[in-house]
């Protein structure tokens, strides 16, 4: 009992001194976990880069229950952490709720959406549909069968957003192309089920797909593997996955969560909220990956066509419809 008491007062002292010291930033990883080979891991990569460059330290937690969302935000805010970076759309609502109680703390949310953004909340969104549009174009140009595949993780609006942009890109090149779209599942395990991802990819390949785009977190590893085994092309997601199967991974749709986290950490106390920052092609927030692993797969005309489309999207000449606009996709049914 005495020990517990001692410990309790010791933490109180630590908490007090921590509050007085220079604020450390904090990162809250969503339920998928820090090492999900995808979205959360990209956030971790960005944070590590900042820590290595500046020698700074940051607090972090991997959530393990829904009730911990608010709990973690409050705990870090009370410890004086600033800014507090959260990953995933599910954190948007808790951030919105909690931010009013801690006006001196800046909260960052990546991927979320809230109708009215409080002045101490910085929202970061990515234009996944435009990046997916470009890789969709590449898929259609590379496809010989005229049939391409899309494999999503969990069936949530965000993944439909990826698939919808991809489908528009495919149709822009080949209006008669067939797009086979499948979701891996309806539970969070769908983000980390490479076996099922591989099965779905094989099923799509059996139906004639010769390019398969995976937007499915860890599940995508199985999709890329199946495509390499069957001798067709695949497209990776979030980070550059070209190196996983050189010669089979056509390209990767980059979503620079790591850059967003790095920039937020670098801004530190200077970070301001109250607005939504949208990172698209112009900001290099999304894009397609080119490196030595896929250089031989992408012809110069393909590159030229995609670069032209990129410029037109940035200038507004091509408008890619976002799934969120009407909660539906003009060229693809899910």
């Amino acid at each position: 009992m005495k020990l517990t008491h001692f410990f309790a007062s010791a933490t109180a002292v630590v908490a007090l001194t921590a509050g007085a010291a220079v604020a450390e930033p904090a990162i809250i990883y969503d339920l998928g976990g820090k090492f999900d080979k995808s979205f959360n891991e990209a956030a971790y990569t960005g944070a590590q880069r900042w820590a290595n460059e500046t020698g700074g330290k940051y607090l972090e937690i991997e959530l393990s229950s829904e009730a911990q969302r608010e709990q973690a935000l409050r705990r870090f805010a009370e410890r004086g952490a600033n800014p507090i970076i959260t990953t995933g759309f599910a954190m948007a609502d808790p951030v919105n709720e909690v931010s009013a109680d801690y006006p001196d703390t800046t909260f960052v949310n990546i991927d979320g959406w809230i109708p009215e953004i409080p002045s101490n909340v910085a929202m970061i969104a990515f234009e996944e549909h435009t990046g997916s549009y470009l890789v969709g174009m590449m898929a259609a140009m590379k496809s010989e069968s005229g049939t391409v595949g899309f494999i999503g993780g969990m069936d949530v609006p965000l993944i439909r957003h990826f698939g919808c942009g991809y489908a528009q890109g495919v149709k822009a090149v080949n209006p008669d192309a067939t797009i086979i779209a499948n979701m891996t599942g309806t539970t969070p395990t769908a983000w980390n089920d490479p076996v099922k991802g591989g099965e779905l990819a094989k099923a799509q390949i059996a139906q004639g797909a010769d390019v398969v785009y995976a937007a499915a977190g860890g599940t995508g590893v199985g999709v890329l593997q199946a495509a390499a085994d069957e001798g067709v092309y695949s497209i990776g997601v979030d980070k550059n996955q070209n190196h996983l199967h050189p010669g089979s991974v056509l390209t990767s749709m980059l979503k620079r969560v790591d850059v967003a986290v790095y920039d937020s950490l670098k801004a530190g106390d200077a970070l301001t909220g109250g607005s939504m920052q949208v990172l698209g092609l112009a900001e290099d927030g999304v894009g397609y990956a080119m490196d030595e692993n896929n250089a031989s797969l992408v012809s110069d005309e393909m590159k030229a066509a995609v670069e032209a489309a990129k410029a037109k999207i940035i200038s507004g000449e091509i408008e890619v419809t976002a799934y969120y606009t009407n909660d539906s996709c003009p060229v693809l049914d899910f």
């Binding site: 517990t4 937690i61 709990q71 759309f89 609502d93 959406w113 069936d155 609006p157």
Partner: protein, 362 residues
């Protein structure tokens, strides 16, 4: 097997099992280079050292009590209901539909209706496997597990296509109107000077869970129906000979079980989240199995075991906040507790029984 005194069976065996589980967990913590003493202190002070910690511990315990009771009731009829997860998900849907349907004037009006809806949806989800078991002999373990997946798919469909507010990224329902917000312990017990249970999600549902425990005890041990359920569970041929209908008992036991699992939703959906999220149940249905197993299918045991698992979840969260012990370790501790209290029960029981008979004989 040797007989044990009841107190040893009910308290001593689980206690020793838990201690062994913690001892091995301690070794694992040493193995990853952390201090197990600090870890235990962090868990205890984090989960029980403040009203805030208690607020989270009791919140999780409330979930586990409902699902633990659900498994217990079915188990008295020797029906292994693995479908608490799906039944609680559907209960959440029922609660959400009620909360969103009308602009409720006061939670006192909304709560009874939400409770009934949650219980009805949960019971309805248990009814199909129960019917298949009673009439067709389809094994309840298999069908209830499968219904968990169907429930997840159904909820996904409803949330993504119907209940999600337009433009929102998160596949969750809109927030419930404030007339449905249940009073939390913070609202109930804080005084003007001191705030107790600050920010913690524990709410009035905790007391409803305790009442449910009492009602289940009355049902199982003090009513004719409870007697029939137990008789059927002990011996089906004897129950049939006594004029008890297996179909009727299977259906009733599973409906009550599903209803209890569905009622969990007033805690996590109505009380905590105040909206329906995709991942609302997050495994409580499965932990309920461990809770029932450890609690010997008795409401008092279920309360104690539910509390232990609530402690593990909240204590585990505190471990993450203050140390660099990863969240996976808490899963290891939980698994060890389940392993020792459930699967390796006899490892403690047999030596203990020998010890007791030797004492009795001497």
């Amino acid at each position: 097997m040797d007989r044990l005194p009841q107190w040893a069976d009910v308290f001593l065996i689980p206690l020793i099992s838990v201690l062994i589980a913690f001892a091995i967990s301690g070794l694992v913590i040493v193995g990853i280079g952390e201090d197990p003493v600090v870890a235990v202190q962090t868990m205890i002070s984090g989960a029980l050292g403040s009203t805030y910690g208690w607020g989270y511990t009791l919140y999780y315990a409330t979930n586990f009590i409902f699902t633990g009771l659900a498994v217990s009731v079915a188990f008295h009829a020797r029906l292994f209901n693995i479908g608490g997860e799906g039944q609680a998900l559907l209960g959440g849907l029922g609660v959400a539909l009620v909360c969103l349907a009308v602009d409720w004037p006061h939670w006192l009006v909304a709560l009874p209706v939400a409770m009934i809806a949650g219980a009805l949806f949960g019971a309805a989800w248990a009814a199909v496997p129960a019917y298949l078991q009673a009439k067709r002999g389809s094994h309840i373990v298999i069908t209830t597990i499968m219904f968990n997946f169907i429930a997840a798919a159904l909820l996904n469909y409803v949330l993504v296509n119907h209940l999600k507010p337009p433009r929102a990224q998160d596949p969750s329902s809109a927030r419930f109107p404030s007339g449905t917000n249940l009073p939390t312990f913070q609202d109930m017990f804080s005084t003007a000077e001191t705030t107790l249970f600050r920010g913690a999600p524990v709410n009035i549902t905790f007391f409803i869970a305790l009442i449910a425990c009492l009602l289940v005890w009355l049902l199982i041990w003090r009513t004719k129906l409870g007697y029939q359920i137990r008789s059927y569970g002990q011996s089906e041929p004897a129950a049939i000979y006594a004029g008890i209908s297996p179909v009727r008992i299977t259906m009733i036991a599973m409906l009550i079980s599903g209803g209890l699992a569905g009622m969990m939703a007033i805690n996590n959906v109505m009380g905590e989240a105040e909206k329906l999220v995709l991942n609302a149940v997050e495994g409580a249905g499965f932990i309920g199995i461990a809770v029932a197993l450890m609690g010997r299918n008795h409401p008092v045991g279920v309360i104690l075991a539910g509390f232990l698992f609530g402690f593990l979840v909240q204590g585990g969260a505190e471990l993450q906040f203050t140390t660099s012990i990863p969240r996976d370790l808490i899963v290891v501790i939980q698994a060890l507790v389940i392993l020792f209290t459930g699967a390796l029960d006899n490892m403690v029981r047999i030596p203990l029984a020998k010890l007791f008979t030797r004492k009795g004989g001497a």
